[in-house]
């Protein structure tokens, strides 16, 4: 594991090389290609050196295809909705990209509705596009409008950690009280529980563990949970 800066060469070589976020393949006129980093952060690779990626922390989301995000409906433009996903540009969501949506029967979204969606297109020269279903099966698979609850904002590293099943926070909270959570990779986590104080507790714990905020460890978190009124 080493640190890389944008533009630095990365010694990634494999017959079946797969590049993750923060890396770019550059080909020179001579025909040979080299891998350079586009982000500053820790360079990681899989055990067989086939997959490489750069891990870093940021607050501004850059859309990437197939990532699930939480967005807010900003406006309606014709058939489509414009959704704020915290990126530099608004995302477009096709009005028919929902489970069971037809020309006649469309989901009834309002300005300000909250969505759990997947980025279907992310290109540097185009606005990102979202969808709320699996394009192959046309089933919702959990995507769609979310109602009630609250949205916690955190850093991008924090929300990636929350998706890691081995991370301690969500299981620890789940052992105390039941709650629902949907993690978007754009630094937003939707949380719902029966009581308001439980939602607030989850929100404060995420804030406390966030490397961009409190940065608490598991032991500190246990102590902190003891001080909360839940």
């Amino acid at each position: 594991m080493s640190l890389v800066l944008p533009g630095e060469h990365v010694p990634a070589q494999h017959v079946n090389l797969k590049l993750g976020p923060g890396l770019l393949q550059q080909s020179s006129p001579g025909g040979e290609s080299s891998i350079i980093a586009t982000r500053a952060g820790e360079l990681n690779h899989s055990a067989n050196r086939a997959r490489w990626w750069v891990e870093s922390n940021a607050r501004r989301y850059v859309p990437a295809p197939q990532e699930s995000v939480i967005g807010v409906v900003i406006a309606r433009s014709g058939e489509n909705w414009r959704v704020d996903i915290g990126a530099a540009h608004m995302a477009n969501l096709d009005g028919l990209a929902f489970e069971g949506a037809t020309k006649r029967n469309r989901p009834n979204l309002k300005v300000g509705s909250l969505l759990y969606a997947r980025v279907s297109l992310a290109h540097k020269d185009m606005e990102p596009e979202l969808e709320c279903f699996d394009a192959q099966t046309r089933k919702a698979e959990g995507f769609g409008e979310v109602k009630g609850g609250f949205v916690v904002h955190c850093s991008l590293k924090m929300c990636r950690q929350l998706l890691d099943p081995k991370h301690f926070l969500l299981p620890m909270l789940g052992s105390r009280f039941p709650f629902d959570a949907a993690t978007g990779l754009n630094g937003r986590v939707w949380v719902n529980a029966k009581e308001a104080k439980h939602i607030i507790a989850v929100s404060r714990c995420i804030e406390a563990v966030d490397p961009d905020g409190g940065g608490m460890s598991e032991a500190e978190m246990k102590k902190f949970l003891g001080t909360l009124d839940i």
Partner: protein, 312 residues
């Protein structure tokens, strides 16, 4: 208007998405970020009704300010939670304007750049920026914090020009209180070089020769902001966070010092308030200002004790 070059339109009738509704010319700047979503709004109101705040504070509890002093005198970083502001004072000797030959000059420079939050544009000042700048001017300059006459060195010839620069680094709500606190603490922390006047000759002693002197200050005002919500069953909230600020129906800012002297009451629009209510809030603000004064004095004393001023 729309028959001419589209650049002339500059989104005369901006639609919801930032496009002009008549010519589809897009406004040059980024559209303002969305207001909070419906679930966030509903949850905030319902939890405030149960007197619960999202960061676990009581309704009338401030985030504890963190004051960090720099190596130079008059450099202060103030943090209220994740809101961070840097204030810096420097002094220069200038010739006073002829209409006020006996008074020093104080100027305040503040700017809200997109560094603080993506909501702020560079270029045209937003409403928030205008409010903050005007309020800083009222609290730190017009309420006579610094004795301007003591800044006069030689009548009509030489006065001190104090320049207070305020950098807003991060906005997580209640930037105004943080900026006022940073500004006033920077003024308290600053020390100007000692001057000697012999006849018409002014000598400025370098801080290494003679100990610099603190500014003579009349009082130390603190600004406290309360947020009111559209539903009257929700009580006002002190030191609102960013979400509370955007969802509030109006903000009431009170500037006062620990000696119970009221400097500024500002309420720009929002919900109507009864006189009794304002008096009650002022009473609460007095207690908070006293607490704040105590911590500021402590921190200043601590910092001064840790500093060695070389005097040869």
């Amino acid at each position: 208007m729309h028959k001419r070059a589209p650049a002339f339109c500059s989104a005369a009738r901006p639609g919801a998405s930032g496009f002009c509704t008549r010519c589809l010319f897009r406004r040059a700047r980024m559209p303002r970020p969305a207001s909070p979503s419906i679930p966030e709004k509903e949850f905030l109101y319902s939890s405030l009704k149960q007197s619960l705040r999202l960061d676990g504070r009581n309704l009338l509890e401030m985030r504890a300010p963190t004051l960090t002093f720099g190596p130079e005198l008059g450099w202060v970083e103030c943090a209220l939670g994740k809101t961070r502001v840097i204030a810096q004072v420097d002094a220069k000797m200038v010739k006073p304007p002829p209409e006020r030959p006996l008074e020093g000059i104080i100027s305040i420079h503040s700017e809200l750049s997109p560094m603080a939050s993506s909501e702020y544009d560079s270029g045209r000042p937003s409403d928030e920026e205008v409010t903050i700048t005007r309020m800083l001017d009222k609290v730190l300059r017009r309420s006579d914090v610094v004795d301007k006459e003591s800044l006069c060195v030689l009548a009509g010839q030489r006065v001190w020009h104090l320049r207070l620069t305020i950098h807003c680094l991060a906005d997580a709500g209640n930037m105004l209180d943080c900026a006022c606190l940073a500004g006033v603490v920077a003024l308290r922390h600053f020390r100007r070089p000692e001057v000697e006047v012999v006849g018409d000759e002014v000598t400025i002693h370098h801080p290494s020769e003679r100990a610099p002197v603190p500014l003579s200050m009349h009082h130390t005002p603190y600004c406290l902001t309360f947020a009111y919500f559209p539903e009257t069953s929700i009580l006002p909230v002190l030191d609102p966070s960013h979400l509370e600020e955007t969802l509030s129906a109006g903000l009431l800012s009170i500037a006062l010092n620990a000696q119970r002297e009221l400097c500024v009451v500002q309420k720009a629009g929002g919900v109507p308030l009864a006189p009794d209510e304002i008096l009650r809030i002022v009473g609460i603000a007095v207690d908070k200002a006293k607490e704040l004064d105590k911590t500021v004095e402590e921190r200043l004393k601590e910092d001064w004790a840790g500093r060695t001023v070389e005097v040869r």
